[in-house]
């Protein structure tokens, strides 16, 4: 099994006629994802990359049987797109869009969760499952060519690709990689994504890529120390040199009110028994070591 997606995952792209939407719809198709259509209000009836475009998610679902969506809609309209997908019965919504106002995210994420829809993101690279060649997101296909038994959960984009690339070079293939998103409020957080992987028998070890801001790493460390997760985890935390009260690119990457700094996250991981790599390049060695135990 892979996490969140399976052989039956049929994907629509919301905002497919935009530059990003159309580009990544093609890359997802090339990777092997079952992309079945797209939605852009007012552009229904046209085609993009050989895919039918619909005016509404409901029509797209009726015509294609889609059960997952990837949202590329610009920030001002993105929440609207998520509500529409949830109400059309979509069970997995991956929100790539960055810069969505946090109070809007707070509401649509709660709305979706109360209706049984899983949201990944916003401000995320999405998720990719090499064993079934399915990608709902923007990760470079070239990095995810080696299927395997490692799970990757990350708050970052390019750093996830970097570490996934290092893993592949060390012969460690990936089962599923999830970029949970760089915003303070996300639909599925680091801890929840790790728990999904912890329950998957086809995942042997989980690489967790954290960063400054918030307390997800600390919460994860606590669960691990309590023995709630019985699978090796290897951590990496970006931003050990980040100054306090400055936003480091991601809206959620900020050390505030004396909490959320990277060093305390590293400390929490290590005290819980989770090995932490000092550089991204050290991650594969630590994974190999953890697997031997």
């Amino acid at each position: 099994m892979t996490v969140l997606v399976g052989p039956d995952t049929k994907v629509i792209v919301q905002g497919i006629t935009g530059k990003e939407g159309s580009f990544h719809a093609q890359r997802m198709l090339e990777y092997g994802t079952k992309v079945v259509g797209g939605v852009t209000p007012g552009k229904g009836g046209t085609t993009i990359a050989g895919l039918p475009v619909f005016d509404t998610v409901e029509e797209a679902v009726r015509a294609t049987g889609a059960n997952a969506s990837v949202v590329f809609v610009p920030a001002k309209f993105a929440s609207e797109a998520v509500y529409e997908a949830v109400d059309a019965g979509i069970k997995l919504v991956v929100v790539i869009t960055e810069h969505i106002p946090i109070h809007e995210t707070l509401r649509f994420v709660n709305y979706a969760r109360s209706r049984g829809t899983v949201v990944i993101g916003p401000n995320c690279p999405g998720l990719v499952a090499p064993p079934i060649r399915t990608k709902l997101g923007i990760m470079p296909n070239s990095v995810y060519q080696t299927p395997g038994r490692i799970g990757v959960v990350s708050r970052s984009g390019t750093l996830t690709y970097e570490i996934s690339y290092q893993l592949a070079r060390a012969g460690l293939g990936i089962n599923t990689a999830i970029g949970v998103g760089g915003d303070p409020i996300v639909g599925t957080d680091l801890v929840e994504a790790v728990l999904m992987m912890a329950n998957d028998p086809e995942i042997d070890a989980i690489v967790v890529i954290g960063e400054v801001g918030g307390d997800a790493e600390e919460r994860l460390a606590k669960l691990y120390a309590e023995g709630s997760i019985r699978k090796p985890i290897v951590g990496y935390v970006a931003g050990r040199t980040a100054p306090p009260e400055k936003r480091m690119g991601h809206a959620g990457a900020i050390v505030m009110l004396g909490s959320g700094d990277a060093n305390s996250k590293v400390k929490a991981f290590r005290e819980a028994g989770i090995p932490v790599a000092d550089t991204p390049m050290e991650v594969p060695q630590l994974v190999l070591k953890a697997l031997k135990k």
Binding site: A216, M248, G249
Partner: protein
């Protein structure tokens, strides 16, 4: 966007909170005039949007208008955590009976609004939070249901007030005003520390902080305008880079950093530090890396006086190495060359072509980020 104390207080006042009289001074003479107008001892409060200004000398009490002028003279032009004091809020001095803490944030784990309330507060709140966490009451508010009466009662009573007293009513109105500010302005933080009971028995937010979500600013044109006119918490360099469209944060080292993606860029800073160097900045050029973006980013660091070495770390599955090389070439051509050393590490397509182009400029292309970071650190050594 971080609001100044006086802006935050104006907002709370608009929502019905009684705020001690105060006015903004831009010169020492103005400070004296306001003190005369108040006719009592005053507090001079440097308007900078960083926490901890009191300990840095940014808050002073003046007994007379003359003293206010003299203190203001010292305070103007002072630098607090990198920010120059240009405005001083002159306000009526309040004798304090006790200090409390009250803040409202968006809680990541529960995905709800969260009030943090403590009957003891003030400058040592972080220490209180560490040593006596049981003092801090957490009151969660559902974003759909909103603030209920029992939330307000729970907070007012935790802060130590009795129902049916004027203090209870004042505290309740502060809780409600903070919640309104949070939701109506789309804030990330609304805080009063200290929230105080004065000797005269009033409940007063002696300090107030509001941080508004940058991504929601477009819905609040008045705030957007205020930010345009006074970007407040960014250095000139940060502002310049922001205007071009980069995420940029100033640090204090000499190795300039350019990366794509926030996580990778932070990790690049950490890598430099790990090998004994000191990063000068955080500059994230975002996803993809076209030649123009690389050119503009590099130009920012080429102009930076403190930067000795520039370390560019790009991980792009679809980014083309020749495109990045072309950007570097263009930046150097436009600025007329440089004495600064440039180190490039890149994963992407057309690496060989990129390597050849960079070789002509005398710039090595590394495939391994650790090696590249070590080299950058070595070159920065005097």
């Amino acid at each position: 966007m971080k609001l100044y104390e006086y802006e935050a207080k104006e907002i709370l006042a608009k929502y019905g909170v009684k705020i001690p009289f105060g006015k903004l001074a831009f010169t020492p003479q103005e400070a004296r005039k306001i003190a005369e107008e108040i006719g009592k001892p005053v507090v001079l409060k440097a308007q900078v949007t960083v926490a901890g200004r009191g300990k840095a000398g940014g808050i002073k009490v003046a007994k007379t208008p003359e003293e206010a002028e003299a203190l203001a003279k010292q305070m103007f032009g002072m630098t607090i955590k990198g920010l120059v004091v240009k405005k001083i809020y002159v306000t009526e001095y309040q004798e304090v009976e006790r200090e409390m803490y009250l803040s409202l944030i968006i809680d990541r784990a529960s995905r709800r609004y969260l009030f943090l309330a403590s009957p003891v507060g003030g400058v040592d709140i972080e220490e209180i939070a560490r040593k006596e966490p049981e003092k801090i009451k957490r009151v969660y508010v559902d974003p759909f249901e909103g603030l209920r009466d029992f939330h307000v009662r729970t907070i007012a009573s935790w802060l130590g007030f009795k129902q049916g007293t004027p203090q209870w009513d004042q505290a309740s109105s502060i809780v409600r005003a903070m919640y309104r500010a949070m939701t109506e302005l789309e804030a990330e933080l609304v805080e009063s520390n200290p929230l105080a009971v004065t000797k005269s028995g009033e409940v007063v937010p002696l300090d107030a902080r509001i941080i508004v979500d940058d991504n929601a600013l477009f819905k609040h044109p008045d705030l957007e305008k205020a930010y345009e006119e006074d970007p407040r918490d960014v250095t000139e360099f940060e502002r310049y880079a922001q205007k071009i469209g980069f995420n940029y944060v100033e640090l204090d080292g000499d190795v300039g950093i350019i990366g794509n993606g926030a996580g990778l860029t932070m990790s690049t800073m950490d890598l430099v530090y790990h090998f004994g160097g000191r990063p000068a900045n955080f500059l994230d050029i975002g996803g993809g890396a076209s030649r123009d973006v690389v050119k503009e980013a590099l130009k920012v660091l080429l102009k930076h006086p403190r930067v000795k070495v520039i370390f560019i770390n790009i991980f792009g599955g679809i980014t083309r190495a020749d495109e990045v090389a072309a950007g570097i070439e263009a930046a150097l051509a436009e600025t007329g060359g440089t004495d600064k050393k440039i180190i490039v590490r890149m994963k992407g397509t057309n690496e060989e072509l990129g390597r050849q182009m960079l070789a002509k400029l005398g710039i090595p292309l590394y495939e391994n980020a650790e090696e590249a970071a070590q080299k950058a650190v070595e070159l920065a050594r005097p």
